[in-house]
Amino acid sequence: MPNDFSIIGKPMAMVDAAEKTTGGGKYADDLSLPGMLVGKILHSPYPHARIKRMDTSRAEKLNGVVAVATGQDAPNPYGILPVGHDEHALAVDKVRYVGDNVACVAAIDEATAEKALRLMEVDYEVLPAYFDPEESMKAQADLIHDNKPNNLEKDYHHVFGDPEKGFAEADHIAEGRFIANEVTHAAMEPHSTLAAFDIDSQSGKPARLTVWSSTQVPYYLQHKLSLVLDMPMAQIRVIKPLVGGGFGGKSEVIPLEIISAITARKARRPVKITYTREEVFWAHRGRPRTIIDLKTGITNQGHITAVKARVIQDGGAYCSYGVVTILYSGALLGALYDIAHIQYDGYRVLTNKPACGAMRGHGTVNVRFAFESQLDELAAKIGMDAVEVRRRNLLKPPTITVNGLRVQSYGLPECIEKVAEASGWKARKGHLPRGRGLGLACSHYVSGAANSIIRSDMPHSTVNIKIDRDGGVVVYTGAAEIGQGSDTMTAQIAAEVLGCSLGRVKIFAADTDLTPIDIGSYSSRVTFMAGNATLRAAQEVKKQIASAAARKMNCSPEDLVFRDDSVRKRDAHLETAVLGGASQPGSGASVAGRVEGQILRGSLQQKRKDEAPKDSMSFEEAVVAAIDFHGALSGTGSYAPPLEARGGKHKGAGVGPSPAYSYSAQAAEVSVDEETGEVAVHKVWAAHDCGRALNPVSVEGQIIGSVWMGMGQALSEEMVWKDGMLMNPGLLEYRSPSSVESPEVEPIIVESVDPEGPFGAKECSEGSLAATIPAIANAIYDAVGIRLHESPFTPERVLAALRTKKAQKKINLTEGIDPTAPAGFREHGGALWFRGKGPKRHPLDPSRREVHEAARGDD
């Protein structure tokens, strides 16, 4: 009976929905401690410069300032990847982007701290800076990091199969350059961290550190804090309060998280730092702008014969997750379609801009835009429908792809069929009125990485469960709830296994003192991995309860059914249902006075009366029996991906493998205004194979959210640069879609039931995003016949392409970059430097006079 579940598979409100929607829930910035100070960070005004001199004395003397921290207070480098320890929380010698962190002031309030920043004196030696990745790769001198020649963070060159042979077999080959401009997460909650030291009672010195932070990865944060602050991990406690969205932007250690601790140590008082929205943009870690030179071969029968991709990512000034990002871009060319020959050349390049990192669909999104667009170009060449060409390139699972990825459950075929059906593809494609079109695209994503970024044998998730005589089920999990529903998923799985009601389950999550280690909420790993750990922990506890209950019922543990807050003999189940009454399934967690007496007072008389064998016990009775029999009732479960799923042996093979992949197919319907270039998305049909939907309403929410976020990148979101200055560091000018232009999204859940997922579940939070961008691009082509190779498809780009197509009079709508064949990145058209481009400033540059003005202002 695969669908005979009592908790999972039913739409549930998130367990923390009430506190969030009533405003009672506490996020990091809501927290406050006695004596707490406000920290404000001094940021670099230059994209690349050496710090020659820093004088903090005037800032320190300002009334209300308690401490000023600089790089010398914690000079150890760190980085999220073991191969990328290239960051300092506060600069020790150089700054590498406008917004880099120079110093931090802790003061009694925000206004005082901001005033103190104006009193900081820093002399810089300005260095030549690199803004374009292709230019940066030519650098010989003034490197961004001395140990990275040509400003190349990392490059990979993979050949699987025989690409030359594959292209020789092709009847048609398409080749082109695609550009995806830079986007960021724009989570609603700006990053915030509160750090406080206990004072050691013996020495009077700062001792244990507690950090409350908006993080997706509490354990990585604990680890990096230990590294930078030179403290044992056991002396550091990281607590994750409610988090208002992550999308990857909180999936690594963000400078403020360490800076607040450094400053708190120096000030000997708790320090809280909350980023302004502008600082969130500088901290960034978003999706890098990417150049994709893509070549695909196809036969007249629609079989893809080979793919060759050369990808350049403009990674910004630090490594961050960059090495992983550039590997994902290549690895996930596989595992969606059956492609026998793949060549991949990936370059992660350093530039003097904020660091890029992981963002929803990590590494896969921009390449997928290029691939799915080019596949449509090829389908048009061979006169084949977009649905049909995808049908002809499906994998035949279970299988291992040419680049070593193990694919088991594979719901893509069903996704494609369902989307084609729901969108009326066959009847409507090509028959819509002028200016209106339909487009299709597919995508996939990992359900967690099979290899942790820290190579070890450590389980990726561990969960402890404790049940006491009150019958309350307490789950301790390191998994970080960031709004995606991790706590709800954990509670559902525990309740399902134990046959108890959801209200019985209490979740303690993401507190490094209380909860066992979990590597965090990223790469869509939580449901699969923490879910499996929860499942195993719950099964262990269930086994103990079952053995005690079976003794009471004179049966074997295997004959027991746990359901609806009771434990019954298998055949007794029906009888109770027929009898009805108070013990009816679903009567909930009510504790009858009789039972209460037994639990609390342990009345022997009562106990004896109940000792006669029976067919059914309440959950509490069974728990009490188990505790009486075993002692403490607790269980633990952990999850490590199986060896078979961990990928091949080539250099970089660690990234891409996953125990299971999610699949998505989407159709978008758009209309294009041919005079203005404005694109309206009317509807998106989005089918997603999530293995099994543990909480369907949550899965639908994730699908809709992914489509919406993908639509933002497709149409309006773009970080605009000018010589390293971010021109739109705010949510007014960085345009995420508003409710007005958000289309109707029809989510379609496909359940392929994965053999290894918890109850068959896989990821549902990231895989859908990548399909939206090419689905819209393909729909624009269907509507007006233009093929955009540069995202986002802003009205100016669409109009430029339309005018070129119609051979209308040339007007410079896009400043020389043809969006159908872009050569490189476009900079904002204004002029940053008074005398042309370059690091030399005008001698009368008022920023040079700033110090004196601030001095006057202070008097």
């Binding site: 309030d109 773009e718 709508l813 940053l832 920023s847």
Partner: protein, 327 residues
């Protein structure tokens, strides 16, 4: 970002407000809806010692019909009230259309008629935090001596970015301005200077109190079209207002104004002359579009390219003229 420290003052009457403005001239800013002032103060674009809250001045709120001589709108009337006013919708539709496009519903609940008229000019190089502006070397509009938009120039090109003034231009609206020596009335066309920095003719000790829509401008067909990337929230990147009066199928009178592409909202030169007496068709509308595009001087004050914004002035003007003629 914190607000700079200031002392908050309240005025109960226009006279009291003018007295305070006179007393603290140069050190005081007026707060009505606050939707423009507060973010700008957080960015340290203004660091006044005093902020004068005028919302308690009952005499300058609300919409009043003046029988035979038009409509009077108090400066404190919210944009939501304009949007939903029955009399304005019926008699001066171009204004309600423009008001309905301002920012978002929440901001229109706060933002006022007077505030929209007085809205500071905007530029990507200006509407930024102190830290950001310091990093780019400041600019001629605030704290600096150079322009990033027209390098080497000494004129500020920040774009006037309010929606309703284009409509008010089409309606020949007049503004009542009260100063120490009493009230004066000026046509809205004389209110703006055409400079990005010193963009309006309002003395430090003066307060904009009322807007008058003349009876002669009533009952024109009106259309406002706005270029923006999102359907809500965004400031205009180009805006076109058109008011047309028809008689026997021909255009009896017409006015066309554009906003957000110059440092001031401006009437399109020659549009009226080209339209009056004609039957409005696509070709004529296109000609008006060309005239509007010629009047527009967009520069790199926004993320969109100037060429695109100019082109949209052309398209939106054509569409507005046709829509006004056919409505």
């Amino acid at each position: 970002m914190s607000l700079p420290q200031f002392q908050l003052l309240f005025a109960q009457t226009t006279q009291e407000a003018v007295e305070l403005l006179t007393k603290y001239a140069g050190k005081i800013r007026v707060l009505a809806g606050g939707t423009d002032l507060i973010p700008s103060m957080q960015q340290k674009l203004f660091e006044p010692d005093y902020v004068l809250d005028i919302r308690r001045i009952a005499e300058i709120g609300g919409i009043r019909e003046l029988p035979g001589s038009g409509v009077e709108i108090g400066a404190l009337t919210t944009l939501t009230m304009i949007e939903h006013s029955e009399v304005l919708r019926r008699r001066y539709p171009v204004l309600t259309e423009a008001a309905a496009t301002v920012a978002s519903p929440l901001l229109r609940n706060m933002g006022t008629m007077g505030g929209n008229i007085c809205l500071d000019t905007r530029c990507l190089w200006y509407n930024q935090s102190l830290t950001w502006r310091q990093a780019c070397g400041f600019c001629i509009k605030k704290d600096g001596d150079l322009c990033h938009v027209a390098p080497g120039g000494t004129k500020c090109w920040a774009a006037f970015s309010a929606d309703t003034p284009a409509a008010l231009l089409c309606l020949n609206a007049e503004l009542e301005i009260v100063g120490p020596s009493g009230a004066r009335r000026v046509p809205i066309s004389d209110f703006y200077t055409g400079l990005g920095d010193n963009y309006r003719r309002l003395q430090a000790n003066e307060l904009l109190t009322r807007v008058f829509l003349p009876e002669a401008s009533a009952d024109y067909r009106g259309v406002y079209r706005k270029l923006r990337i999102r359907g809500s929230i965004d400031y205009p990147l180009a805006g076109v207002a058109v008011a047309v009066k028809r008689s026997n199928g021909r255009c009896a009178d017409a006015r066309v104004a554009i906003t957000a592409v110059n440092p001031a909202p401006v009437m399109v030169k020659g549009a009226r002359e080209a339209l009056v007496g004609e039957v409005i068709d696509e070709a004529l509308a296109e000609r008006i579009g060309d005239l509007a595009a010629k009047t527009a001087k967009p520069l790199t004050t926004s993320a969109l390219t100037p060429e695109y914004r100019r082109e949209m002035i052309r398209v939106f003007t054509k569409r507005s003229v046709l829509a006004a003629a056919q409505s």
